[in-house]
Symmetry: C2
Subunit: 776 residues, 2 copies
Amino acid sequence: MESTLNYNKAKDWIIEENEFDHSNLGKCEAIMCLGNGYLGIRSSAEESYTGETRGYYIAGTFNKLDQYEVSELPNIADIINIELELNENSFSLEKGKIKEYSKSLNLKTGELHRHVLWESMQGELFLLDFYRTVSLKDMHLVAQKLVIVPVNCDAKIKITSGINGRMTNSGSQHMTDGEKRFYDRKYMQLVQATSESGIDIIHNTTLSFKLNQKKTELNSNIAIDRRRIFCAYDAVLPKNNSLTIEKISNVYTSRDIQNQGVPLKTIQERSLEALKASAMAGYDQIASVSAKEWEDKVWDTNPIIIDSEDEYEQLAVRFAQYHLTVMTPIHDKRMGIGAKGLSGEGYKGHTFWDTEIFILPYFIFTEPEIAKNLLIYRYLTLEGAHKKANSNNYKGAQFPWESAWLDDGEVTPVWGPVDIVTGLPTKIWSGFIEQHVTADIAYAVWQYYMITDDQEFMDCYGYELIFDTAKFWSSRLEYSQEDKLYHINDVVGPDEYKEHVDDNAFTNYLAYWNIKKAIEYYGQLQEERTRFKDLFTRLDLNNTYTEWIDRIDKVYLPTPGKQDFIIAQDKSYLTLKDIDLTKYKRQKQVGTIFNDYNLEQVNNIQVSKQADVMILFFLMEDLFSHDVKKANWNYYEPRTLHDSSLSLSTHCVLANDMCDYELAYELFKRACSIDLGPNMKSSNEGIHSASMGGIWQSVVYGFGGVRMMNGQLRIEPKLPESWNSLQFSIKWKGQSLQVFVDKRKLLIKNCTATKKVEVYVNNKAYSIDTELKMKL
Amino acid sequence: MESTLNYNKAKDWIIEENEFDHSNLGKCEAIMCLGNGYLGIRSSAEESYTGETRGYYIAGTFNKLDQYEVSELPNIADIINIELELNENSFSLEKGKIKEYSKSLNLKTGELHRHVLWESMQGELFLLDFYRTVSLKDMHLVAQKLVIVPVNCDAKIKITSGINGRMTNSGSQHMTDGEKRFYDRKYMQLVQATSESGIDIIHNTTLSFKLNQKKTELNSNIAIDRRRIFCAYDAVLPKNNSLTIEKISNVYTSRDIQNQGVPLKTIQERSLEALKASAMAGYDQIASVSAKEWEDKVWDTNPIIIDSEDEYEQLAVRFAQYHLTVMTPIHDKRMGIGAKGLSGEGYKGHTFWDTEIFILPYFIFTEPEIAKNLLIYRYLTLEGAHKKANSNNYKGAQFPWESAWLDDGEVTPVWGPVDIVTGLPTKIWSGFIEQHVTADIAYAVWQYYMITDDQEFMDCYGYELIFDTAKFWSSRLEYSQEDKLYHINDVVGPDEYKEHVDDNAFTNYLAYWNIKKAIEYYGQLQEERTRFKDLFTRLDLNNTYTEWIDRIDKVYLPTPGKQDFIIAQDKSYLTLKDIDLTKYKRQKQVGTIFNDYNLEQVNNIQVSKQADVMILFFLMEDLFSHDVKKANWNYYEPRTLHDSSLSLSTHCVLANDMCDYELAYELFKRACSIDLGPNMKSSNEGIHSASMGGIWQSVVYGFGGVRMMNGQLRIEPKLPESWNSLQFSIKWKGQSLQVFVDKRKLLIKNCTATKKVEVYVNNKAYSIDTELKMKL
C-alpha cells in the first residue's frame, strides 16, 4: 500500500507517478481519469494488465441488465488499448526492465503523459512516450499519440489496436454485440446498443503513422471478431528513428440531444465524417485546442490561488476543480453527477445527495448556470419521485436515495457486502429509509435561489420542487398519541452506521425546514395566484397548505440537553454502548470497524460513520448557539470515524467555526487526501465526487469563510498558519467577486460591478461597488 | 509461434510444456483441458494472466443472450483461480525468475500438474506444485492441490480464492449476478442462473490447509462482491516447511437429470453436503478414484497400442481417446458433442456433422451405448429439424447445420470474420444451405445399425430418422425441365470454400442414398405394418413412399468424366480458374488464402478447403472403381488445402487405399498435430473434436484397415514402415474383438465369443469363433 505518487515535481499542476506498481493500477486509473462531462475514461495503460479496470462511460446512458439489477452506467467499448510488439516481445512493464518511468496528468491542459525507457529481455532499449487527451472542446473526441524510439537496436514493431466491445461492468454486459465495419481499410466503426434502454453507441477510430515526423503508411491486417474490430500494423524502424502513432477516436450516442430522432445510419455517417476531420487535424492540434478550453473555461474563470509552503494544497484544490469539470454533464439537463463521476463503476453512475449538499455549492458560487441545470435534472426526475412516494403510500415527491433515469425512481441496490456473522450479503436499507435526500434537494433549491436571485428558475422549477417535497414530508410525519407530536420513525440519517432509527435530528430538522419554507413561499405566491394557478391545482396546494399549517408546530425537533447541551443524533443514540474507538479512528482505511463487528452490532454502539448532527449545524448555521454547537462538537467529533468521504470537509469547516484551527487544517489535509493521498486502494471504484466539492468547501467555506447566511453573504476568512494568502472568485447575485486574503488584509473586488453587493464581515455589513479593502 | 511443448519425456502418456510462454496460453489451456463429459475446464493457471481464456463449461446448458445471437454454451463462474502473495510479491511467472518449470497432463490419470521453482524479485526461492483433477467418477467434482515450500527464506503467504462469476463468453454475459453465501465461514456457494434458458448453476467450494502434512486453520477474511464470493487467508511458513492448499469444488445444475423438478433450495443443500463429503475425502483420494476410473473405463477397455519408433504417435492416439472421453456427455441423451468439446468457446458448444461422420465411428466400434445416446440426441432434436424444414418450405426433418437445444433448430451464426474487400463481416451461409448434415445423420444411423445389429434402436429411433430425413430430401429435390432430372441447387458441400453451388456430388449422392435406404426399409417394414402403424401415419409414409419411388431414379448423380474419370465436385468446379496453390498448401496456419483473396474470389478458384469428393469415396467405398478413385485422388488432393480439421484423416485413410503409403503416414502425422502440433494458436478456441475421431480413424480405419462395408466387417491392415505392431479393440455386433497386427501376422481374438464373427481379409471371409491368426 506504499504510495508511488509524487507531488514534489508538482509545480501545482502535475499529478505524477514515478514508479510502476502493478498491484495498485486502480489508483491512477481513477485519479488521472480524463473526461469532459459527456464522457469519462479511466487512465489505464495502452497495453493491458491483469487487475486493471478499463472504464469508459458516457453520462446518462443507463441500462438495466435484468430484473435483479438496477440501472447503471455501462462500461462501453474500449478504444484506449494499443498492444505493441517490439522485436517480437510484447511490450509490458511487467517484463524486462523499466529504466525510466513516469505517468502524469497535467491538470492545466488535461493531458495524460506516460514516459517509459524500457529494456526488453534481450537488452534492447526502447523509449516510449504516450500522450492522451479527451477534448474539452469537442465532447465526443478522444486523441492518443505514441512516440517510439529504439535506442540501441533496429526494431520491428507490431501495433494492434481497434475497438473492443468485450468490456463489462464487473462481468455484467450491457451491450449487444453490434455492427462492425471498416471503411477504406482505415476507419473502424463499432455500433453497440444498450440491451434494455436501447441506446445506440457509435464508436469510430483510426490510426495513422509518422516516421521521423513524416506521414507514412504501414502494412495492415484488418480483423472483425466477436464484439470487436481491430487492425494489426507492421513497422520497421531503424535505430534512433522515431515512429509516431496517432489514434483518434470519437463516440456519439442516439441519446445525445442533437441526435434525438436522427436515424442511426445518419449518426453513423456524420460521426465517421467528424472522425475523418479530427484525424486530419491530428493529435497536437486536438490537444492544444482542448488545453485552451481548460484555460478559458476553468482556470481563468475560477482561479483559486493558495500561497502556502506546501504546494500539495494548491494542487489538491486544482485536482478538485479538474474533477468537478470532468464529472459534470454540463451539456445536458437530463443527467446528474455520479457519486464517482465518470471515473469508475462505483455506485453505478448514480446521483446521491452528494450533488446537492457537497458539489452544488461550488457550481452555485462559480457557475450558476451549471448549478441550475443540475437542479433541473432533479425537477425532470419528479415522475420517478412521485412513483416512489406513491409506492410507499406517501404524497408529493420522494426523491430516490440513488437516482439514474428521469423516470425510474429508486435505483439503490438491495444487497451489499458480506455480513461476517451470517455469511450472507448485507441488506442495504438506504433505498428504503434514507429519506433526507428529499429535503436536501429542497435546501439546495433555496440555496441556489438565495445566492443567484434567479427568480425565473424559481417560477419554473424551484417553487414546485419545494412544495412537492414539503408535501412528501407532511405525509411522511407520524403522529404519536403519546406526546401529541409528529415524528419521523424508522429512517437512516446521514450517519449510515445507524439504521432504523427514530427522530434522526438531521432528518427531522430538515423536514421541518422544508415544510416551513413551503409555507413561507405559499404565502408569497398567494399574491400571484393567477400566475401559479396551474401549479396550485396540480399539487392541490390549498389542501396541502392546510395540512402544513396544522402540523408544522407539532413536528418533533430534538432539543439540546438541559445540562450537557447534547442533541441526540436520534432517539436512542445517547443510550447506546460507548466503546474505545481509538483503533478505528484515523485508520488509513475506512470501515475497519467491520473487521470486528457486523452492521447490526455497530448499530448498537455510539459511533458514527460520518457527520450527522454536525452537518445539521453546517446547513442551519444559526439554529443553535455557539455553546450548544461546541458541546456537540466535543461529543460527536470523537465518535465520528469519517468512514465516508462526505464527512471530513464538513468537520473541517465546523472545526474552523469552533476555533479548533489545528484540527481544521488537519481535517483539510485529510480531505485533500481522500483520493490524492497515499491510500492506493480507496479510489479503485472511482474518485469521490462529493469530496471534490468538499475540498472546495474546506477552502472557500472553511478558510475563506464564505457562507450564505439566510440570504446574506458572509465572508470571514481564517487562513491556516502556513498559508500566506488565498485568492478565489465567487459569484453573488450575478456579480463576480474576486476575494483575496492574506495575514493582514481582506480584499474583495466586484469585477462585474453592475450593482452593489452587500457583504457581512465580522457581523458588520459592507456595501461593495467595486472594491472592499480591509485590515484583518 | 515456436512450440514450447515437449514430448520427449512423454513415455506415451504425458503431454508436457517445459517453458512458460505468455503469448501462447491458449494452447495448453485447450489441449490440457480437463473434463468428464458433464463439465470441461480449460487448463488455465491458478494465477491470472492477460491474454488467458479461462473457460468452464457444462454440457447442454445453452443460453441465448439476445435476439441478435444464437444459443451458446455459457462460460460459467471460475473456480480455478487462486492468487498467491509470497512475501508481499504477487506470484506471477511474468515476474521474477523461473528456475524450473513444467506443466503436464497425464492422460492416464487425467491429472494436471504444474511444477515451478520461482525466484522473486528479492531473490527468494519458492517451490510450487499445483495439481488438478476433474473427477471421472463423480462428474460434479473438481479438486485442486497446491504445495508451497519457501526454499531460502521464511514466508508470509496470502491466498485469495473463491468463485468468480464475472466470466463471460468473449464479453457476452449469460448469467444473472446470483445468490452468494458463506456457510461456517468455510464453504462458499454461488448460484448463477442463465439469463434466458433459466438454468440454475450451483457452485460450492472450500479451501483447507496443511502445514507439513498436518491439518491447520488459517486466518480468513471473507468477502462478497458483485458476481463473486471469495476469501483471503494468511499463512506464516518457516523456511523449508510446506504449506498444502486443497481447494475442492463442485457444480450442479437444475438441468441435471436427477435435479428435474427438485426445488433449488434442495439442490443447494444437497450439493453443499456433497462438497463437505468430498472435502473430507481430500484431494489425493479424489484424484486416485478418478485415475482408477480412467484405467477401468477407458484405457483397459479400449487400449490402442502402437509399437513405433516415435512415441509421439502412441501419445497422439491416447490424446484423442482422452479428449473423446472428456468431450462426450455420456450421462445425458439430451445433449450432443460440441465441435470444440468442452474445451473452449469456439463454435459455441454446437454440434455439427463432425459428430456423426468423424467422431461416432469411434464410439460405434468401441462404446456402442454411447454412440446410441448420441444418435438419440439427434432423434430428440426432431422438433427443431421439422421447424427448420418447415420454415424453408420443405417436408420431413431438416437437421440444423449447427445444433444446440433439442427444439431450437438452426443455431448457426449469420456473420463471420471480416471480408477484406468490403470491410464488412462475411455472411456465413452454412446455416442456410449447407444441407448434407441431414443425410450424414441418416448415414450414421445406418452405420450404427450395421455394426451393432441394434434392432431395438432401429425400431424406436432409427427407422424414423431415416424416413424423416428421406422425406426432407425428396421435398428438397428440384426438378429440371431441361434434363428431366432432379437436382439439388444452391448448396454448400463439405468444401466450404464453395458457396451456392449446384449439384454438389457429395450432397447429391448422400441424398440419393438416404432416399434409397428409406425405400429399402419401407419395404422391410411393410411386413410389420401394424407394429409401425403409428410411425407410418405420423410420417404419412405411404404417400411419401410413392414420391420416393417416383423420384429416386431421376436424381441427378454426377458421374466420372468419360476420359479423365473426374467427378465434378459440383456443377461449375471444373470450369473454375486454376491457380498456383503451392503458397497455401501445407502452410502452418489454415486459411492463409484469405490474406490474398476474399471468399467470393475463392469461390471462383479450383481450390477446396477440405475433403469433398474424397469423403464421398470414404463413406461410399464401393460406389466407384479403383481407377476412378485414383484419378479423382490425383485431381483433388493437390487442390485441397486441408484448411479444415475434417480433412486430413479422411485423406490419410484414402491415401492408404490409393497405396500412397508415404503420404498416408505424412497425413496421419499432420492429423495428429492439428491440436498437439507446434502451431501454438490453432487450439485457442478449443480442441478440434472431429480431429480426435479423425486420429482414431487414421489408425484403425487407415492403418488398421477396419471398415464396415455394406454390413460386413473388413480388416485389411497396412502398417506404416516405422511401426512394428498395432493393437486395438473393436466391438462388432455385440462381440468384443482384439486385433493385433505386426509386420508378419494378423491376430483377431473374439473376447466375448458368444457368437461367430465373420471378417473379410483380402476379399476372403473368415469366421471367427475365438481367434483368427494369419500370416501377412
